[in-house]
């Protein structure tokens, strides 16, 4: 793999340029090239969702996305979503409901949950369970996560902080 490609993209609002191997996946680009270790590589075959990040407003699997395909893209990770305060209410709900135990799935789970809320998702437990079923959690049994997302959805619908 001698060929390297230059790619320039925006990550958490910062423009970054790197010369990378074409085979480098987004999750490894974030973790190894940029030191953004919030998203995790859980299965590296697109099932577990621990690597979920946002690209151009859509959630994607960081382990299935080639970084070289992201020229000009806008990438947001848990670090950016935290610093901007965008998902603060959701994070507070996760803390209040103890919706994370080991925390390894949590950044991906939060990113998926934020996507649910961004799509106008309601405080509907079955719909929440369906939406997060691409994100594995081995610790919680999911109920506290559903509680937290339901809580955040309800608060948002009610206009409460």
């Amino acid at each position: 793999m001698k060929t390297r490609l230059d790619v320039t993209l925006t990550v958490n609002g910062e423009r970054v340029t790197r010369s990378i191997e074409p085979r480098l996946h987004l999750i490894d680009f974030l973790r190894l090239e940029l030191g953004l270790t919030g998203a995790h590589a859980g299965c590296e075959h697109g099932v577990c969702g621990a690597c979920t990040v946002r690209v151009n407003g859509e959630i994607v699997r960081g382990c299935l996305t080639l970084a070289a395909s992201l020229e000009g893209a806008r990438v947001e990770t848990i670090e950016g979503l935290s610093d901007s305060g965008e998902i603060r209410a959701l994070q507070d709900a996760f803390v209040a409901h103890n919706a994370c135990q080991c925390g390894f799935c949590t950044p991906g789970m939060l990113t998926t949950a934020a996507d649910y809320l961004a799509q106008g998702g309601a405080a509907d437990r079955a719909a929440i369970r369906e939406h997060i079923s691409g994100n594995y959690c081995r610790c919680t049994g999911y109920q506290a996560i559903v509680d937290a997302i339901e809580d955040a959805a309800r608060r948002r619908a009610g206009g409460a902080a």
Binding site: A41, Q101, N135, Y142
Partner: protein, 801 residues
């Protein structure tokens, strides 16, 4: 202050605890970093000149290594060194995983990388060390191994047959361990019983699937002679000892640092040969070497568990009294017993735990532990409990059916009475105090079975088949040295905590138990805040560093709260007394008139503030000249704790599952699940509930989905997350959790373990619910996982394979 401490004297028994954090759902102080992606898992640590290890793994279940040619791999871009088993044997000694108290147990020596043979598909055989993982993987493809395949031992039923090849010739046969518990009189009891029912149970081989794979980063600094290992482990001190022994270093020259751990469930409390190889390679290279398993490697090399076939019989009298259990357990553990806990404990636990909740006289149970050419098995969450509970509760339900009794009623007639303690079970387990009847009463009140029975009957008439299943269980927690230490394993049953106060009144507590998401650090902070008398926000917890924390066993077998928590309480209370004695000298007051509350020295009688702890800290640390010359100055206390009266603190509980079986597709839809459990004193109710819920879902995983599927040649067919199914949010029910609190009197805190109760009972409850749903068809299932194929086969809708 010389009066003996009691739970009451420490404010643990008051109904209203205004100045206590114990019993309150305090949010975890570590949760914020987890939700902001700012935790530090082992793979998040990078060091200068760090290299990466990649392993070439055996494609065969059993094969002789005729030759290895690493020349092309060694010359590949980025490769620093290639290691074979022979290379590593020079610096890393092999280990044998047996325990002396498991009489007759045997296993073969295991090396970091094998010397002559691979004995399971996925066993690491050659290690590449390269500048990047990608370069290492490129080079791994260039290693040429000439394999001579050997017959694979895949079927446990024939493992001991004379015609089956012996896996390790030096052992003489494929038997690792066998044990029988026998009260005597079993044959007579069964011969004379009004009813005997029997079944053959299968527990599917499954694995932990921690979302964070096994991860290790080892660095050997030649100048210091020091091995430092960042390790995703449950037991840093145990690993320190293992690295030291196998790499021939003193323990003082090995430091194990465990930061955040992304799930463990027992998977990360074992010695893995590939991880030993990483430490050995760092030792040789004098550079940091990192290894993070990919998911394929996790499936083929993380421990598996629960590969059992159990034949069980129960005898009952005409009144529904249980007369006895007669059980024969057979389990396969792979080619080696896993170091240092051994792979015989699971079977041994089945012998110890079957029939556990019940008062009966006659018991016979044998476990037979045999070798296989499959991934090694070892302790996984609720070791042996889900198996013993499924067998026991499955048989109890069969007996109820035979007698025409409600399953709840049969349990009421046979559960050990709540006033019968202390109680010793037929296989010799000693129970200090359990609450089976109180727990069952509470569960029945939550479940309201009569409503569900009415619903069940109404729906059956419409061709909808719902079932309600129950499972009482016991759980072994707070293990003493009787678990491992007496067998010669250097696994600590004691644990320590050091609590100190810093100048501004902040408190730092260093504990030997560890955090993998359970909330260990949160409960330690609550306990220390209570014990010292400071706001919980002022307490910082340090775990997972063998150079810093008191020596301890780490977190496994549900000992974090019960053992680590008690050490924390005792050290915190000692610090409080120390603070009071120094303050008394400064304030010229009698110590017994003072107390510490919410960060201040207060008058004990009135509660009025006498001095903030920050002022006490300022005086002692910076103006020691103003204190009386002989005044004590130590604002640090250490205590260690071990249980002494009982080998284990058993807990108990009962679960119920309500589900629907689609008799056309064989799919099971879980509707609701209930648990009542008794883990003694509850430090943080929310954390306990979440441990229970997570445990239930892991138990459901084993009951319905999870299975390591092997073919007849010993090839694992489930090596991706798309093949090995784990519970998803959409498939899981809401789980209601209730509690009975019977504190253990072995400690002041009174806490027992809570992390495995959910897993212990859930599969049995689900199994009994499925069989209840299928009762109109006379179909019964006892082989987990209860897949659609198996359900349709039991219904006679598809032919058996």
């Amino acid at each position: 202050m010389s009066a003996p401490r009691t739970p009451e004297s420490l404010g643990l028994s008051r109904a209203d605890l205004p100045n206590s954090y114990i019993g309150r759902s305090v949010p975890r102080p570590t949760a914020r970093k987890l939700v902001e992606g700012r935790a530090t898992y082992t793979d998040d640590v990078s060091l200068p000149r760090m290299l990466h290890a990649v392993f070439v793994r055996s494609p065969h279940a059993h094969a002789r290594i005729a030759s290895i040619d690493v020349a092309r791999a060694a010359a590949a871009p980025g490769v620093v060194r290639v290691f074979t088993g022979a290379d590593l044997a020079k610096v890393c000694d092999p280990w044998v995983a047996t325990l002396a108290h498991l009489k007759g147990m045997k296993s073969a020596p295991q090396y970091a990388l094998p010397l002559e043979r691979a004995t399971w598909q996925g066993e690491a055989v050659v290690a590449i060390v390269a500048d990047t993982v990608a370069h290492g993987e490129d080079a791994a493809a260039l290693v040429e191994i000439d394999w001579a395949p050997l017959p694979a031992l895949a079927d446990i039923e024939t493992a001991l047959s004379p015609e089956t090849p012996v896996l390790h010739a030096e052992l003489g046969d494929n038997l690792v361990f066998t044990r029988t518990a026998d009260t005597g009189g079993v044959d007579e009891a069964f011969a004379n019983a009004a009813h005997v029912v029997e079944a053959t149970f299968v527990s599917g081989r499954h694995t932990g699937v921690t979302l964070e794979p096994r991860s290790i980063l080892a660095d050997f600094n030649r100048a210091e002679g020091m091995l430092t290992v960042w390790h995703s482990t449950q037991a840093p001190h145990m690993m320190q000892g293992v690295f030291a022994k196998q790499l021939r270093l003193p323990e003082s020259d090995v430091r194990v640092i465990t930061r955040d751990v992304g799930g463990s469930f027992g998977v990360k409390v074992h010695v893995y040969p590939d991880e030993m190889a990483v430490a050995a390679m760092a030792r040789v290279l004098g550079r940091p070497v990192k290894f993070v398993a990919d998911r394929f490697e996790s499936f083929v090399s993380d421990i598996h568990a629960r590969d059992h076939r159990i034949k069980g019989r129960i005898a009952v009298d005409a009144d529904g009294r249980i007369l006895g259990f007669d059980i024969d357990d057979l389990t396969g553990i792979g080619p080696y017993s896993v170091y240092p806990r051994t792979s015989a404990i699971e079977g041994n636990q089945v012998v110890n735990l079957c029939g556990g909740p019940y008062d009966f006289k006659h018991y016979r149970c044998t476990t037979t532990v045999v070798l296989q050419n499959k991934t090694p098995t070892c302790q996984y969450r609720a070791v042996g409990h889900p198996i013993a509970t499924a067998v026991t509760e499955g048989l109890v339900d069969l007996a109820a059916e035979r007698l025409g009794l409600d399953p709840i009623e049969l349990r009421r007639r046979n559960l050990i009475r709540d006033d019968a303690y202390p109680f010793t079970s037929p296989p010799g387990m000693r129970f200090e105090g359990l609450s089976h009847h109180a727990a069952l009463d509470k569960l029945v009140a939550m479940v309201e079975p009569e409503k569900l029975r009415a619903e069940q009957a109404a729906l059956r008439a419409r061709g909808v088949y719902r079932g309600l299943g129950f499972a009482s269980f016991i759980e072994l927690t707070n293990p003493s040295p009787f678990m491992y230490g007496i067998g010669g394993a250097r696994i600590s049953a004691q644990d320590g905590c050091t609590v100190r106060m810093d100048p501004d009144g902040s408190v730092v507590a260093m504990s030997g138990v560890t955090e993998q998401g359970q909330g260990t650090e949160a409960i330690l902070a609550q306990i220390v805040a209570h014990g010292v008398g400071v706001p919980v926000e002022r307490v910082k917890i340090v775990t997972g560093d063998t150079r810093v924390t008191p020596y301890g066993g780490g977190t496994w077998a549900c000992r974090g709260a019960g053992i680590g928590g008690e050490a924390a309480l005792q050290s915190a209370v000692a610090l409080r007394e120390q603070l009071i004695s120094v303050a008394a000298a400064i304030l010229q007051a009698a110590p017994e008139t003072l107390d510490v509350a919410m960060g201040e020295i207060v008058d004990r009688a009135s509660g009025s503030s006498r001095m903030p702890l920050a002022e006490l800290g300022r005086l002692v640390y910076f103006r020691g000249d103003t204190l009386p010359k002989d005044a004590p100055r130590e604002f640090v206390q250490t205590r260690h704790f071990i249980t002494k009266d009982y080998p284990f603190a058993f807990t108990n509980g009962v679960q119920a599952s309500w589900l629907e079986v689609d008799v056309e597709t064989g799919l099971v839809r879980l509707l609701k699940h209930w648990v009542v459990e008794d883990c003694g004193r509850i430090v943080n109710p929310k954390l306990v509930d979440e441990q229970v819920r997570g445990g239930v879902v892991q138990g459901i995983g084993g009951a319905l989905y999870e299975q390591c599927v092997y073919d007849a040649e010993g090839q694992l067919r489930t090596t991706t997350m798309a093949d090995y199914l784990v519970p998803l949010a959409a498939d899981m029910p809401d789980i209601a959790v209730g509690h009975v609190e019977t504190p253990t009197r072995e400690s002041l805190l009174g806490a027992k373990g809570a992390g495995e109760a959910g897993t212990a009972g859930a599969p049995a409850a689900v199994m009994n619910a499925i069989n209840d749903a299928l009762r109109p068809f006379g179909a019964k299932l006892f082989a987990q996982p209860f897949t659609p194929e198996r359900i349709l086969t039991a219904l006679g809708r598809v032919a058996p394979r």
